[in-house]
Symmetry: C2
Subunit: 247 residues, 2 copies
């Protein structure tokens, strides 16, 4: 049995993330969203608001993955250059889309539609809109590149709009096992053996540190429910009889 795997990457565009001024809230949201619809995120990059950096990252990612999602850089100010970068990476021209101008005029008086705001109506030739129910100006999808806003609420609405149009694969199933109080050291070798014996699963062990001690969780992931269940049972057997404590 083989499953369809659809792999994606996320490109986060913005100096403010790299300087630490703004704490990104989009990576975790998009990762979880895509996992839930059967698209596996395999890479994330964060790059500054610099044309060459954006174009290079776009070209590296769009050739390697089924989809590349971007966040950030689609506003009206001079540092918003994502549409320009996508057009350059794909070798197509930008044009002013009258449909976007019309959307903007639902919210703006004609005399307020200045040159900067018109920049937001420029999309690469061949792109389709990704609807923005919040502030109207859409993102866009061209080839396998999906361009979204950086503001989390708008990005999330755009993701809802574009998701039904994407090819999705088998959903990654996941089960979490609490290794209550048992440190990683005693079970690491046995867990490695279980991982080898269950090649259709991905098994990870994740320590969290809090209240002065570690709390480990073992996570099993698979696209095959039966394989997942078999590995989960093997791990349950392994943990049985292991003593909690700091050993």
């Amino acid at each position: 049995m083989t499953e369809t795997n659809i792999h994606a990457a996320l490109l986060v565009i913005g100096d403010e993330i790299l300087s630490g001024r703004t704490k990104d809230k989009n990576i975790g949201y998009i990762a979880e969203f895509l996992t839930n619809i059967g698209i596996d995120m395999k890479e994330v990059r964060v790059v500054p608001d610099e044309m060459d950096d954006i174009v290079d990252a776009l070209n590296a990612l769009r050739k390697r993955y089924a989809y590349v999602f971007t966040t950030g850089g689609i506003g009206p100010t001079h540092d918003d250059i994502t549409a320009d970068a996508v057009a350059r990476a794909l070798g197509v021209e930008l044009y002013e889309d009258q449909r976007i101008i019309d959307l903007m005029l639902q919210r703006l008086k004609p005399e307020d539609l200045n040159e900067s705001r018109r920049r937001m109506a420029r999309i690469p030739r061949g792109a389709e809109h990704v609807a923005n129910p919040i502030s109207k100006v859409p993102g866009f999808k061209i080839e396998n590149v999906i361009v979204m806003a950086g503001v989390p609420s708008i990005m999330q609405a755009m993701l809802d709009d574009v998701a039904p149009k994407l090819t999705t694969g088998a959903r990654m199933l996941m089960e979490t096992i609490e290794a209550a109080g048992i440190p990683e050291g005693p079970y690491a070798a046995a867990l490695g053996d279980i991982a080898k014996a269950h090649p259709r699963t991905i098994i990870g062990s994740y320590p969290q540190f809090g209240e002065g001690r570690f709390r480990n969780q073992i996570v099993v992931r698979s696209k095959d429910g039966a394989a997942l269940q078999a590995a989960v049972e093997a791990i349950g057997e392994m943990l049985k009889g292991m003593a909690p404590g700091g050993r």
Copy 2:
């Protein structure tokens, strides 16, 4: 006047971030920390727990930036392969460091020091320790690569330990101007002109959406205090007399 610029990248290693199961808390912390000590983070990548992906990313980043920080993948379980990947990327061997074994024996009985735990004592030949006051097992620094834990509290302690050993550059200064209630559209063109007229600054405009409306902040960054101040004043002049509101 020229400033020293020290550029760094961060490589986040972990399936659990890409699946969305764990929400990364390290990117924002490290970005802000490095900004404050005069190291500019220019790129972040998140990759899965796969040898080739980690090695490729390490090699791309370590050649391009003064420092590459990594988080994740240094525990005792089979999915912890960061030390192996760093050794492979740098073409050096891994060895079991007796000093790390000794640190581990401060917390473990000798009979509990099993094969899996010994894996955590393997570091690349030539690496120096990055101290871990919380759970003892250190991270390490080799050439320009700094390997840290993924657990945020441990990563933060490691960053405190390694920071004084790093070459730092001029600190990026930053000032935030509240464009209280003024939308980006009316000021975007003038702000672009100011950005052009103040080439020693980096000027960004960041909308936040909440309570049904946008609240914009304009952020000016520079390593030159006078240049920063001049741009901030120009922006203050620009905003004077602009009407708040949805226009």
